[in-house]
Each structure stands twice: as structure tokens, then as C-alpha cells.
């Protein structure tokens, strides 16, 4: 296992080392010490590494991740796993604003709470939050799944496209064009599959309610012309 201490190694050196790894690498286990709230830790990794970050991090941890399994043993600042392509990012604590924003694939698991704008503009990522999510989450969410064990804040799913939102607790309010939808067997199976992949348990798929797009904002409605 490679251990990198950010107390003595610069962030650039760390990220360069991680970027140099290719899919055949034997050095698959990485441990990062003393992140001390630093920014952009393990951003842009593109190989199947297991990376453990021992402590809390700042902005953009694991951004643009491809293939790697990255675990933050602490909390993360804004933009955790932003634009993730594949792989899995687990945050043991809380995450700040816009976690998983624009993510195209892979899975983000937050074991604490997520703040505002979680999953904003998500495009295929699966996000599982064990706690609550803040306001304006899943704004303009396009595809992918957001599974929340706790509550959602104001304006969930505002201007949503085809992402699926599953919330077990209370939703404070729904955003424009977001509505509650019927839970069918296919959705229960989907949640079951996501939960298994997340490694989290203790909840049942039938405890969740589904929210998605009413599809009324997709096309311009000529009756609304006066509003412009």
C-alpha cells in the first residue's frame, strides 16, 4: 500500500502520482493522510485504485473520478465527486453544497447529511444519502438516481428532466415541474439494487416515495407566450 502524507507531500505531487497509475497497476491501495480540509484531493483519477483519505477534505474531492473507489474518512466540502464518470466515492461524514453535481456515472454514497443542491444537473450518477439533503437538490437533474434515507429540503427536483428521486423522509417542498409518482415493482427492484451496491442497509425499498418530472416544461407552451 502507498501512503501519502499531505503534511509533507504537495497536493500536485499526490494528484500527479494518482494520474500516472494505469489500469494494469499493481499499486492499487492508497492511503492519504492529513488532508486538513485541503481542496481537490484525488481529483481526476482514471484507474481502478482503492483510495482511503484519512480525514476531512475541502472543495472538489474526487472530482471527475473514473474507475477508482475513493473513501473519505471524514466530511467533505463543496463539490464532492463533481462530474464523476464511474467508480465509487464514499464519504463517511457530511458533504457540503452540490455534491455529485453533473455526475455522469458511478456512485456517490454519503453516510452523513448532504447540504444544498445535492445532485444538481446530475446526468447518470447514482447518489445515496443516509441522512438529509438540503434545498434545491436535483435541480435540472437529467438522468440517474438519487436515494435519500432522510428528509429533503425546499424545491426538490426543480425543473427536473428524467432523473429518479427516491426519498424516505419528508420533502419540505417540490420544485417546479417535480411531482410525486407511483412506485412500481421496477422501482422497488431499482432501489434494492442501488442499496446493495451502496453497501448501506437497514431500510426497505418500499419505505421510499418516488418523485420525478411532470414533463410540463419540456416544450414551449404557446398559451404561456404572454409571460415572455
Amino acid at each position: 500500500m502507498r501512503t501519502i502524507d499531505l503534511g509533507s507531500t504537495s497536493l500536485r505531487e499526490l494528484n500527479e502520482l494518482l494520474h500516472k497509475q494505469t489500469s494494469g497497476t499493481n499499486e492499487t491501495q492508497w492511503e492519504i493522510l492529513n488532508p486538513r480540509g485541503g481542496h481537490a484531493v484525488a481529483v481526476g483519477v482514471d484507474s481502478p485504485l482503492n483510495i482511503d483519505i484519512k480525514g476531512s477534505v475541502g472543495y472538489y474531492v474526487a472530482g471527475m473520478n473514473k474507475q477508482a473507489n475513493i473513501t473519505v474518512h471524514g466530511s467533505a466540502g463543496p463539490g464532492a465527486a463533481e462530474n464523476m464518470m464511474s467508480g465509487k466515492v464514499v464519504v463517511k461524514g457530511d458533504v457540503s453544497q452540490y455534491a455529485g453535481a453533473t455526475g455522469r456515472g458511478g456512485m456517490l454514497v454519503v453516510e452523513g447529511n448532504a447540504s444544498s443542491r445535492c445532485g444538481i444537473s446530475m446526468k447518470g450518477i447514482d447518489i445515496v444519502v443516509k441522512g438529509n439533503i438540503g434545498h434545491m437538490s436535483a435541480f435540472m437533474a437529467q438522468t440517474g438516481n438519487l436515494v435519500v434515507f432522510g428528509d429533503a429540503g425546499d424545491a426538490l427536483g426543480d425543473s427536473i428532466y428524467e432523473a429518479r428521486l427516491f426519498v424516505r423522509g419528508q420533502v419540505k417542498s417540490l420544485g417546479a415541474d417535480c411531482i410525486e409518482k407511483e412506485m412500481r415493482d421496477e422501482h422497488l427492484e431499482l432501489i434494492d439494487n442501488i442499496l446493495k451496491r451502496s453497501g448501506l442497509n437497514g431500510v426497505k425499498p418500499k419505505d421510499f416515495r418516488r418523485y420525478g418530472s411532470a414533463r410540463k416544461l419540456y416544450n414551449f407552451n404557446i398559451d404561456n407566450a404572454d409571460a415572455y
Binding site: R36, G37, G38, S56, V57, G58, Y59, S75, G77, P78, G93, D94, S96, Q97, S115, S116, G134, H135
Partner: protein
């Protein structure tokens, strides 16, 4: 961008180290606010005394002979403790208004940074760690401190445009964000007798809180009202003689993280600002909710 740090001690044993902790916290926020920096330190009040923190770009000339001039003008002994471009003038508490008046009429070139029983504010243009060492922040003691590193958006990079802003006795406010209705609020406040030193939006927020406190509200109530009346982006951290408060606007774009232990409450724009605090690994760490007032008093 801007960076904010704040530390409100509950455990008096840490008070000798307030300045040291605040220096470390401020040093992590340099990139967020490279234009200027400032801090308010609340030290132990001295019985029967009040203090006024002054600033001058021509400190040598302006502070020479000031003690004698003010003593004579108000008919009481005063003392002056100079720190670089700033100096803390200590006066009998019942002569505070007279001293302010003597400064205003006889020494209009001096800028008043703060006045009160406990507060001292130091702020200058420059890289934050250099500003902190210019005033020897690390040696300062007290019960609470609020620091700010500024990346200017709404007004000029000047000493007076730096934060914290103080618009009432022992009060101060720092701000990350920008207000969009500050000219209107300024007009309302000015009409009601509040005065302003700058064209800065944050000064309007500080004056707004002072105005509400003057009307009889406590700090918590004043901040609740600010959510109705101030429009724009803000994370505010506010200090009073005994109080420490945090509020964010309803959109809450401007970052904020807090930590609390039995020994202190701490605020940082980022977690980086908090990592050097004692016992942080065991602290309760959370992101303050939007449009929610957090308020501590001792």
C-alpha cells in the same frame, strides 16, 4: 470570495491563546481574500474604562501628542497604546462620547475603527498573514474574535473598505457575499440618523444590525429581521460585547462551517480554518442552515 473566521471561547482557560488561534485560522483563508484583512478582538473590559481604536495613514505624526490633546479636551487622563497604523485610546467610560467628539472636531484625519468597553478592531490592505503580524494578533487575548480576508467586489480596496465594520458600541460584523439593496437600506437608515463612513455594502448591513439593536432588539432578533430586509448573498458573522452570531441568506451559496466543543464555538468559511483548533476531532462540526440565526451569549 472572501474568508471569514470566528472563535467564541466558552472556557476562560483558552483566553490567553485567542490571538494565536485566530492567527492560525486567518492564515488558512489568505487565498479567499488576498486584498485586505481585519479582525475584531474582544478583550477583558477594564472597570470604568472605554476604548477607541484609531487608524491613521500618517500614524507617526497623528498619534504624537494625541494623549495630551484629548486629555485636555475632555478633562481626564487617557492613554494610548499604539500598534503600527492603529492605536487604542483608553478613556474613562463616562468620557467616551466626549472623547469621540474631541477626535471628530480636533483630529478629523483619524479614523475610528471601533469604540466600546471590550472591542478592538484592526484592519489594513495587504496579505492577511502580514496584516495579522503587523498588529501582533498572535499575542492578543480575549473572549472572542472575528477575522476576515477580503476579495473586493462592491467597493474599493482600502483600509476603510476592509472588514470588520463597527457601527455601534462593541459591535462588529463581517460579510462574505454582496448585497443588492444596500443603497435603499442606506437611505432608510441615514434618514433615521445612522451615519456611514464608506460606500461599502457591508457597512450597511452592520449599521442595519446596530439600528435594530438601538430599537431594543437583541442580536438574535436583529438578525432575524435582517433576513426580511436585506437582499443579496451573505454569510454574516457578528460580534457584540457578550455575543457571537452567524446567519446565512436563504440561498446559502457562500460557504460556512461551524464547530462546537465544551471549550468554544468556531466559524470558518471552510473546514481548513478549523483544523488547528484544540479538540477539533471530537467537535460537533456542521454546516449552518440557510436563513437560520445561530446565536451564543456568555
Amino acid at each position: 470570495m472572501c474568508g471569514i473566521v470566528g472563535l467564541f471561547l466558552k472556557d476562560a482557560k483558552l483566553e490567553p491563546r485567542l490571538g494565536e488561534f485566530t492567527t492560525t485560522m486567518l492564515s488558512t483563508m489568505c487565498e479567499r481574500g488576498p486584498d485586505s484583512a481585519g479582525f475584531a478582538v474582544y478583550g477583558a473590559p477594564q472597570k470604568g474604562k472605554a476604548k477607541i481604536t484609531l487608524q491613521s495613514p500618517n500614524a507617526d505624526a497623528d498619534f504624537a501628542g494625541l494623549t495630551a490633546a484629548i486629555s485636555k479636551a475632555i478633562g481626564a487622563d487617557v492613554s494610548l497604546d499604539r500598534k503600527s497604523t492603529h492605536a487604542v485610546l483608553s478613556v474613562p467610560a463616562d468620557k467616551l462620547q466626549a472623547a469621540r467628539e474631541a477626535l471628530r472636531t480636533g483630529h478629523p484625519q483619524l479614523r475610528i475603527m471601533s469604540a466600546g468597553e471590550s472591542i478592538e478592531i484592526f484592519k489594513e490592505v495587504g496579505w492577511p498573514t502580514e496584516v495579522a503580524s503587523q498588529f501582533e494578533l498572535a499575542k492578543m487575548q480575549g473572549s472572542h474574535a472575528i477575522g476576515h480576508t477580503r476579495m473586493a467586489t462592491e467597493s474599493a480596496v482600502t483600509t476603510m473598505g476592509a472588514h470588520p465594520f463597527s457601527t455601534g458600541p462593541d459591535q462588529c460584523l463581517v460579510h462574505n457575499g454582496s448585497l443588492s439593496n444596500h443603497p435603499n437600506v442606506r437611505r432608510v437608515l441615514a434618514h433615521d440618523g445612522m451615519t456611514f463612513e464608506t460606500e461599502n455594502d457591508t457597512e450597511v448591513a452592520a449599521a442595519y444590525i446596530s439600528w435594530r439593536i438601538k430599537q431594543g432588539m437583541n442580536l438574535g432578533q436583529a438578525l432575524e429581521k435582517s433576513l426580511d430586509d436585506l437582499d443579496g448573498f451573505f454569510t454574516f458573522v457578528v460580534g457584540t460585547k457578550n455575543g457571537f452570531a452567524v446567519v446565512r441568506d436563504p440561498i446559502a451559496c457562500k460557504p460556512a462551517v461551524m464547530a462546537e466543543t465544551d471549550q468554544y464555538v468556531a466559524f470558518g468559511s471552510e473546514y481548513r480554518a478549523l483544523v488547528g483548533l484544540p479538540g477539533i476531532d471530537g467537535a460537533r462540526v456542521w454546516e449552518p442552515e440557510p436563513a437560520t440565526v445561530y446565536f451564543w451569549e456568555r
